[in-house]
Subunit: 334 residues, 2 copies
Amino acid sequence: MRVIVDAMGSDNAPGPDVEGAIRAARRHGCGLLLVGREDAVRAEMAKHDVSGLSIEVAHASQVVEMHEHPAQAVREKVDASVVVGMRLLRDGAGDAFVSAGNSGGVLASALVGAGRIGRIKGIQRPAISTVLPHLHGHSFMLDIGANADARPEWLVQFGIMGAVYAEKVLGITTPRVGLLSNGEEDTKGNAVVQEAHSLLRQSDLNFCGNVEGKDITQGKADVIVSDGFAGNVAIKTAEGTASMILTILKREIKARPLASLGALLAKPAFKVAAKTLDYREYGGGPLLGVDGVVIIAHGRSDALAMENAVRVALEAAERDVVGTIREYIGGGQG
Amino acid sequence: MRVIVDAMGSDNAPGPDVEGAIRAARRHGCGLLLVGREDAVRAEMAKHDVSGLSIEVAHASQVVEMHEHPAQAVREKVDASVVVGMRLLRDGAGDAFVSAGNSGGVLASALVGAGRIGRIKGIQRPAISTVLPHLHGHSFMLDIGANADARPEWLVQFGIMGAVYAEKVLGITTPRVGLLSNGEEDTKGNAVVQEAHSLLRQSDLNFCGNVEGKDITQGKADVIVSDGFAGNVAIKTAEGTASMILTILKREIKARPLASLGALLAKPAFKVAAKTLDYREYGGGPLLGVDGVVIIAHGRSDALAMENAVRVALEAAERDVVGTIREYIGGGQG
């Protein structure tokens, strides 16, 4: 297996991107194709032991910046790392593509421009996804940003794609699929969610009904389906809340000498809790529905996050997530 | 001032409802009109010192249950505590009404049925609101559940009502009004949010742009405007995340004797942090846009939460939130 990695994606690229990819190559025995400014990428590679690893570099002179309009940028910047990486995936130069760049840019480069891989036949809209921790394990949420407005039928397809991913990669048999809503009752939801609820009930999925914000962390569902607006609000609110709680705790502990001593003794417990909540452990979420394995890593990714994102890419490629989605959807509803 | 309290509202009613109201009456020197099954209410009152307090009981034989369809229930149950309480508010028997009952039931009883108080003239839709903690203080979010689908103009009115409340009751001068969205950039959002963004830009409000889920806890805005769907997802996700983190921390600490000792030493710091996050401290959120002061307390309210909800009701009544909203909106846009 060979993973194509956008070396210019993360906020601190190319350092974490290159280091994380090298670590993953060492640990999982995969080949790498690093895409970005060749001199910068090789300079980063020189900082690490790459002996015995199969690593190639594909030069890309441009980068899609955070402030740019994604679709316009990937059309204009034909030599952007995310465009070149996607093109290499399409042309079979690797089995998966990982980028910690602007998620809108990754999505756009999959759908338009010189690297376009397009959607799986029958899929109406791709979805960006993420793994989320809950009290008893992990759930998988999609869409978290590709489609701010969604149609009910799209949400059903998100449910199918999420179930495939949860089963194939997360190892959850017959995953429970829930629909993010503003109440548990079947009648709750905005107009789109109410219609999606009916469609999901009629589907072959193991649909467990509506899931409220507080149910996410209870692990009520294995797959949580949402439009990209509410899904994005949910994950960013969870992230912000976790960060606030830890900040307040630290602040209050620091203000008290005895509490500081106590916190030192309790540190191993804090560490385990922090690890559970650490987005870097999950590496990245697949962009599902496009015709290839594409993993979007967090923009703030460090080397650990990138290493895990490459692992996720390998798992998705090895377990043929794209082929399985194609089987379930293929041709039927296009 | 006299506050009308739905004694049958909370999950454990009438105990916490009656006790909290009595505590508030003692602390803030207000009168009370407790609404509910008279024998049950008086039995609860007998458990507390009510000497010198001005407390009356209004009998209401029915209760709107959590599983009921709110609008239908308040139409059919003319003697439900929430309907009777709302009617007493309309008829001038008190200055504000507090209920920890089914929030849909409180909303419905304000708009339809025997207790209907109706909307403030010019207000297109009422909104349910809440106070949220952030790193440096508190913000105020609306709508969190009254309108799962919203029109852009409604969101602008939510901004106006929220700003009035933040200024009058929370004491924030020229509050910054933000719009909940899936990205900071002006172009982010679903179709309704994008249009609301333009309208808010043109308004007289101190509009600070889009607010992401993670900005909520950073205190980027004093007032956060949302439709009732995404707003509900946000607050319940925050609640669920906070609860999950504390549960995981406790679990990991308990598993380690040394960490348990440490946590004991750090307890005062934990307590302050927990208090910051405790919804009970905020008492309840006003139902804004209806023609009277109505406070919806959390269904899981205990006596402390109810006491604070009555305090919030007093503040909103004393500072004439309804009259001020009427001045800003009145007749102009109806």
